[in-house]
Symmetry: C2
Subunit: 205 residues, 2 copies
């Protein structure tokens, strides 16, 4: 099963992903992204990112090797398809932690994936703030409303909305989602059906 964790920039996707990797629930494999940006001190190729040249990255794009990719500040970032497919073929879940644009590319290619939208806690508290005692200026409020409208529009393309109020709570919610998704009938019924096909009696009928 492909699990896509995404959300607006600054929501804390990376922190939640790191907490998931450090936690007890490890029934998934994290898909390491590929980038053309320079390695920073302490980063390791193949751990933090696959660090590649622009030419290498563009070759991957041209040969269909990227599940999703985008450019930020002159650098490419993306998910190599090969590793995702290998892990899924081995029967393990794959976790992607990517930007919303990339997530929408994945949604088109993998509609069966589980798409989780991490929401900023102040989005769910927005009404409280907007109808509150006017501590925010009209300008600040208007800006936050525009941003909230954008965030809600993004959310509409996802399966689940998880509030990142506390990292450990967000992680627990995501883990529950993963476990529940594995019980969904469309994901399990073929396994049940195949048991019947394997039976010698019904085949001889």
């Amino acid at each position: 099963m492909l699990i896509v964790l995404s959300g607006p920039s600054g929501v804390g996707k990376g922190t939640v992903r790191q907490a998931m990797l450090a936690g007890d629930y490890r029934d998934f494999q994290y898909s390491i992204s590929m980038t053309t940006r320079n390695m920073r001190p302490g980063e390791v190729d193949g751990v933090d990112y696959y660090f590649r040249t622009k030419e290498q990255f563009e070759h991957e794009i041209a040969t269909g090797g990227m599940l999703e990719y985008a450019q930020y500040v002159g650098n490419y970032y993306g998910t190599p398809l090969k590793y995702v497919n290998q892990t899924l073929d081995s029967g393990r879940d794959v976790l992607l932690e990517i930007e919303v644009k990339g997530a929408m590319q994945v949604r088109e290619k993998c509609p069966d994936g589980v798409f989780i939208f991490l929401t900023p806690p102040d989005l769910s508290e927005l009404k409280h703030r907007l109808t509150g005692r006017g501590t925010d200026s009209a300008e600040v409020i208007e800006k936050r409303i525009t941003q909230a409208a954008d965030e809600i529009a993004m959310m509409a393309n996802y399966d689940y909305a998880v509030v990142n109020d506390k990292v450990d709570l967000a992680v627990k919610r995501i883990e529950r989602i993963i476990e529940s998704e594995h019980l969904r009938v469309p994901r399990v019924i073929d396994r049940y059906k195949s048991m019947l096909d394997a039976d010698p009696i019904s085949q001889s009928k």
Copy 2:
């Protein structure tokens, strides 16, 4: 949110429901069924069932008062609509524990409900038995295959399949499903959208 727990007869739906009611997770209200069968020693009207006469039950059916109903061995069993609606309107989840025929009636009326199919543990172990060392007779195997085919056909109409291998594990899985379903975007996005509508600035635009 309406939660429908169902499954083939003998799978242990009642036991799982009772364990849910006795457990720590109580963010739901159990919907008591109505029946025309006689009260048994120790049973209480309004606790175990709403005990009604055949005439009263048929009056409910005629006036659209039943969410679902069926007859078994000459008696009616069913779910009164009024109580379900009252509880849903109050914002609480409602749990129904009903037979598969009734569940399909509810599915038609409440497509947004969460439909959970409890599966017998030997269904998931069926392949093992069928391809095993032949301790079952051909007759027993054939009968179990027919039954399994029926169970899998029923399962196709549900959202989730939960194996009832151990009652406490089945309960945990159901609780996780309920919690995750509450995070599904179609269930929450209107609440987010309504925050924007409530805002005085965007209304004045």
